[in-house]
């Protein structure tokens, strides 16, 4: 057992931490709330190779592991970086697998955030609709020109974003959301069909959720730091409020849950190659638990601030809103927990699949 990062992972963390500290203070996040996307920050990401780090060498990538990608996602979450790292990484890897010659892959590898993904959301009350005229909310759908989607067992690219997407719709998380018409009757390019198509989308969905789990954990970690700092500084009744158990214990409980979220995301990423049978289940868990943890922590940290936490002047509200938004865009934790149960107990629907709990051997 070894739960520490290796040297190259530590260097990766240091490099992105340094860049984000310099380029993405919360003032930068606030300055881009009107679009949800920072072109200049994304350029910095691409300069460090973030757009192609998870791609195979043949596609111009660095063949880095999902754990490496996860570390970058985690730091991005801490900084609330308004960049499409999750979507570019996920779609790029999907295309590299099923359509390595596809032009969209070349664009992504070249740093253009050209494509996004329609996450399946199978249990959500209002899930992804691919029927004619149906609309789906797409993360970074405002800047993508293409969206990868699954309709039944057809995996396709909805092209020509200009004719498909709505204007940016403003959301709680100040994201770059747009409604997309995913109708595949026209302007659609088929990537794969049958089992291969379903498997490819399952895989991309799992990877997006894994990286989102890292990202949400990052949101929670920073929110906890902000809340704890405030609890040490804020004086009421003549003492720092962090000395009151009513303040300290909820924050401590968040610290515990966050450590669990980080370990869970790291385990899932590690399982990609080391424990593949459990990979999908762990990705789903990482997203569900990351969601619950980030939403709870941002809430506790906000309330640690009393009234100030509710004012736009204080940063904690940025975290409160984004934790909720990133979870909901994939359907939310309640939806994801059902997927966890299916992956855990009933993967093939027969009800006879062995439980995948119990850890790696």
């Amino acid at each position: 057992m070894d739960l520490s990062l290796d040297e190259s992972q530590q260097i990766l963390v240091d490099t992105f931490s340094e860049m984000l500290e310099k380029e993405c203070p919360t003032t930068h996040v606030r300055d881009h709330e009107d679009t949800g996307f920072s072109e200049s920050l994304w350029a910095q990401y691409c300069e460090l190779g973030a757009n192609a780090m998870g791609l195979p060498e043949a596609a111009g990538g660095l063949e880095m592991s999902l754990l490496d990608l996860g570390l970058v996602a985690n730091l991005s979450g801490r900084a609330l970086a308004p960049v499409p790292f999750l979507e570019v990484a996920t779609v790029g890897r999907l295309l590299a697998k099923v359509a390595p010659e596809d032009a969209a892959l070349g664009a992504l590898a070249g740093g253009v955030p050209a494509a996004s993904i329609a996450l399946p959301r199978p249990h959500a009350v209002l899930g992804t609709s691919t029927t004619s005229g149906g609309r789906s909310l797409i993360p970074f759908g405002t800047i993508a020109d293409q969206v990868v989607a699954l309709d039944g067992d057809i995996l396709y690219v909805a092209e020509n974003g200009a004719s498909r997407r709505s204007e940016r719709v403003q959301d709680i998380g100040a994201g770059a959301l747009a409604h997309w018409n995913l109708d595949r009757a026209s302007d659609a390019r088929i990537l794969a069909s049958g089992d291969e198509a379903v498997a490819a989308m399952r895989r991309a969905d799992a990877e997006w959720k894994l990286l989102a789990g890292f990202w949400l954990t990052g949101i929670a970690q920073r929110a906890l730091t902000i809340g704890s700092d405030y609890a040490r500084e804020r004086i009421q009744f003549g003492v720092p409020i962090g000395g009151f158990q009513a303040i300290a214990h909820p924050l401590a409980e968040c610290a515990i849950r966050i450590d669990g979220a980080e370990l869970l995301a790291q385990e899932a990423a590690w399982a990609d190659t080391a424990d593949p049978d459990r990979f999908e289940m762990l990705c789903s868990m990482a997203f569900a638990w990351g969601s619950q943890t980030a939403i709870r922590t941002a809430d506790i940290a906000l309330h640690t601030h009393g009234g100030y936490g509710f004012s736009t002047e204080y940063d904690i509200q940025l975290f409160y809103r984004r934790a909720r938004a990133l979870s909901s865009i994939a359907g939310g934790a309640k939806e994801e927990l059902q997927t966890v149960a299916e992956l855990c107990f009933d993967r093939d629907g027969s009800g006879k699949a062995a439980s995948l709990l119990g850890g790696a051997q």
């Binding site: 515990i256 590690w270 059902q338």
Partner: protein
């Protein structure tokens, strides 16, 4: 990174499973649950004969030299099987402590007998007036020639009624701050002045209250220096807090999962109800997080790193999440969930009833969740000390 416990732990798992298959029948499991005392001499001595009581002790002192991952696996498998393992846990620790912190007399007179399973100790920290405030112990030990006389009441002394000795925290001085006047004694349970009374719990455990009246103990039975017993106690509590109940959570979710996939009286699988599915997912996530936190504590210990608040995190999370799940399930499964194992119509072998009755104590003993959260707040978040 590598999340595997390793080959040696895997071997232990197979070995313990074989041991359980050969020695621990379904009848034994039910008997252990019925008895609730956490210890069975016959089974315990079989484990001792196979070297498991002393498995985690250092090799240079004659222990098994097993690594923390192997010991984790030993406890995990026994606990998950419903084996009465409290005696093993306590004596694994106490023997280890005596080896390292005891006198030559302790090492020669007690340690080999603990290792062979001839004798066993119970832990005597809590008192009627001191629970979380362990250092507030008021059982007194006063010197009388070469002996000490012990007086007072101990509480929650689990396995005292089956043990030959109690590893007991006593007050030897009131001159300094409370934790600087404590000493540890090995107190026999069969001598004059010791009275052991059963305490039964809602969860089916049998614990004890122990009353001590002028109990005479030779000075040779003192562990560590007079008034310096606190460091020994802290070591013990840290060990217990780093464990949690992930093994039981795993058993609980596996039983709930298996139950949910069977069609109920209406022909429907509970699994297909979205509420059940969601709760299964939640319980599974909690079990996985508990397991990871426990594995991390074990890894830190194996690497010789400082646990900080990480041990406290392990027990705090496990205790609260298991309790939450047990209560949530009871609210979901309806009246049949109330029925005990073997009752007509009981669900999942009494899984829900048992967890509902047993989990409340998990956030209490071995360090309450409130004490643990204060520790995490201080150590990991740098918040002011709070009481």
């Amino acid at each position: 990174m590598d999340f595997r416990l390793g080959e040696k732990a895997e071997e232990v798992k197979q070995e313990i499973r074989t041991f359980l298959a050969e020695n621990f029948s379904e009848e034994d499991r039910k008997e252990a649950a019925e008895d609730g005392g956490g210890h069975n001499w016959e089974l315990y001595r079989k484990l001792a004969a196979a070297g498991w009581v002393s498995a985690g002790w250092p090799k240079e002192y004659g222990g098994g030299g097993r690594d923390p991952y192997e010991i984790l696996t030993l406890y995990w498998e026994l606990c998950k099987a419903g084996f009465p393992w409290i005696g093993l846990l306590n004596n694994g620790f106490i023997g280890h402590t005596l080896m390292v912190m005891g006198t030559d007399y302790h090492r020669e007179h007690f340690v080999p007998k603990i290792a062979s399973g001839e004798i066993a100790f119970a832990l005597g920290y809590s008192e009627p007036g001191s629970g979380s405030d362990v250092a507030g112990a008021r059982v007194t030990a006063t010197q009388d020639g070469d002996d000490w006389l012990i007086n007072g009441e101990k509480m929650w002394t689990t396995t005292a009624h089956t043990a030959q000795y109690i590893f007991m925290l006593t007050r030897t001085s009131t001159q300094d701050r409370p934790h600087r006047g404590l000493s540890i004694f090995l107190v026999p349970t069969d001598v004059e002045g010791v009275e052991i009374n059963a305490i039964h719990t809602m969860g089916g455990e049998r614990s004890n209250g122990v009353s001590l009246t002028d109990v005479r103990v030779p000075d040779a039975n003192r562990v560590g220096e007079v008034d310096k017993g606190w460091s020994v106690v802290r070591f013990a509590l840290g060990l217990e807090q780093a464990m949690g109940y992930a093994d039981l959570q795993e058993r609980f979710i596996q039983q709930a999962g298996a139950w949910s996939l069977e069609a109920g009286p209406d022909g429907q699988r509970p699994f297909d109800d979205a509420r059940i599915k969601e709760q299964l997912g939640q319980t599974a996530v909690h079990a996985e997080v508990s397991r990871l936190l426990r594995h991390r504590s074990t890894w830190l210990a194996a690497e010789g790193k400082d646990l900080g608040g990480k041990g406290a995190m392990t027990k705090s999370f496990s205790g609260t999440s298991y309790l939450d799940d047990a209560q949530s399930w009871m609210d979901l499964v309806g009246p049949a969930g109330l029925l005990k194992e073997d009752e007509d119509g009981a669900l999942a072998g009494g899984n829900f009833d048992e967890a509902f009755r047993q989990t409340p104590v998990n956030t209490i003993y071995g360090g309450t969740v409130e004490i643990l959260r204060s520790l995490v707040a201080e150590v990991d978040l740098g918040l002011p000390k709070s009481r």
